[in-house]
Assembly symmetry: C2
Homo-oligomer: 344 residues x 2
């Protein structure tokens, strides 16, 4: 494996001239020398050693994407289409920018911070971290960091997210508009700040504007998993004063509910309406297809990388940036009017 030294010798110049050529400081080198060096680089198949470069330049060209690990209590890491799609997009943009992506599941803030420090990563993007973890991370490692979908963090924290609250309220309005008066909510816990809490808040607000309230017995806890949602359908149906429509905070939940309702003899949307969130592929796989709030995941990934690159360029002058992407209602087939003749 040829080194800088080899190239320099072969081209009859010093190592640092080669370095200058390779790093684009070409104003410091004569065109003839550049040509000679490039020829040798090509002939020898020279590839710079990234670890050596990182060590001496104190810049690694490494970006980490951190996502919730197994210990985070959720489903398997990256089982979630949102996270995997996001990762794929981030990788593409990071590569595009000439950087490298380290994929890292976070099981503990400490070990994650240590990995970042150890590799001296230039920056990191975090999926699914809580507000307290955000703070700890910033304390443990000084580098540009962009968080995704965080709510309730200080404005000094760079964040890319979507209009979760608006999404929730659009969902609520859509169901109200369809004529529903008893509307349920199905989603994960929302006692901590986060997307679910925001969506819930927007939803409650929309109901309130219509003079309706979200009754506690119409709120069903359910993780973002299909099977959990199939079960949750039973709880919805068993609730006193059964709702005629539900807002699910994720399409995968909506899809599970759909199966659960139909299985229990409640066709959708004839006997039960459902509105989802995300507009993942699953929303179109099922029949009827799910009416949902669309978010732009590739756009979010692009924004996250943009914000990170901007911070890298400014570093160490941190100027935090918060970006909020829109959501739009996608009409499909899972919302209808309340049943004229309810079952039961």
């Amino acid at each position: 494996m040829p080194t800088l030294q080899d190239v320099a010798r072969e081209a009859g110049v010093s190592k640092m001239t080669v370095s200058n050529v390779l790093n684009g400081h070409r104003d410091r080198v004569s065109p003839a020398t550049i040509a000679r060096v490039m020829e040798v680089v090509g002939r020898l198949g020279y590839v710079p050693n990234a670890t050596a470069r990182s060590l001496s330049a104190r810049r690694s060209n490494l970006v980490a994407l951190a996502f919730p690990g197994r210990d985070a209590g959720g489903i398997e890491p990256l089982m979630n289409p949102h996270d995997s799609l996001f990762l794929g997009e981030v990788e593409a943009h990071v590569t595009q920018a000439g950087l490298y992506l380290m994929a890292h599941s976070v099981n503990s803030v400490e070990s994650t911070a240590n990995s970042l420090r150890s590799w001296n990563v230039d920056g990191a993007i975090f999926l699914g971290t809580r507000a307290d973890e955000v703070a700890a991370l910033h304390r443990a490692y000084e580098a540009p960091m962009v968080f995704i979908d965080n709510h309730g963090t200080s404005p000094q924290i760079s964040n890319v997210g979507i209009e979760d609250r608006l999404g929730g309220s659009l969902a609520g309005r859509r169901l109200v508009e369809a004529g529903h008066r008893r509307i349920g909510f199905v989603g994960p816990a929302f006692d901590e700040p986060g997307v679910v809490r925001e969506r819930h808040a927007g939803f409650v607000q929309a109901l309130a504007e219509a003079g309706l309230e979200l009754r506690p017995e119409h709120v069903v806890r359910c993780n973002a998993s299909f099977d959990a949602a199939v079960d949750a359908a039973r709880q919805v149906l068993a609730a006193p004063d059964r709702p005629t429509a539900v807002f699910a905070t994720a399409d995968i939940i909506a899809a599970g509910l759909l199966k659960g309702f139909v299985r229990a003899g409640f066709p959708v949307p004839d006997q039960m309406s459902i509105i989802g969130f995300d507009d993942l592929e699953v929303a179109r796989h099922v029949t009827p297809e799910i009416t949902t709030l669309r978010q732009d995941i590739p756009g979010k990934a692009r924004a996250a990388v943009e914000v990170l690159l901007a911070q890298l360029a400014q570093w160490p002058t941190v100027r935090s940036e918060r970006r909020v992407l829109g959501v739009t209602l996608v009409e499909r087939g899972s919302v209808g009017p309340p049943p004229a003749i309810p079952i039961n």
Copy 2:
């Protein structure tokens, strides 16, 4: 950020003693010294610099997972649940082993090889590479490499895959057993060696054993995308001597076909039977749920990392290893007998 030097000074020992303690060469150090060093490490919050370590040790602790990029002509990178699930599992095992994962989309073999060389990665796992790329990769970079789902590569190439041919033949047999005589095949191109070709071969063989043949007009090309499969359904229905059942080489295709068939007025399984492959979540999302050939993706990821670690341990004595995981038929609701009263 404290360095080895700082720890050494503080503990009153040499750098290399600290290094020995940290790298587990503890037999070379007295218990008392170990304790003192560890105390200082903890107190200072020392984290070894991975790039420095890589540079001097000529071992990076970095493993790359390469997956098809945008230019590979498929869908968006990692949109595919198989790849993203696999990635998540690999990350977990790699981390478990104290290594780090670099995620890398491959758009060209050259640039991928350069990245591997540049970072001096200890090994790599490759998803979705063709036989010719495999060879080029091995030529371009000397390190343990494990390929996934390759067929037709030489035995010196380490590979982890599944019984694709058996899967195809189980699919064929199942449909024959259900009484079908006109059976179609829907999947991507299979002119090159690969999983699709194997599944096709097994399928054809199963039909042959039943005295049936796969008629060319009953073979429909279709990429592994839901929308493409919805379209493909029309082609299946329009074929002369319309089949009463189809084998789809991927669940996502099966799901699309299901939607296409139902939309066209052909209920599944009453008028049309479908059998899929993979047993991804989508197979259970739809109604009826899809009968499919299950493969163990987490198991494949585990095996891939195992094989890679084994080679790392032996390196540079390469002993290639090929692992083939089983497939099993999962009965669900998309296969029935041929229609007693066919439509049309």
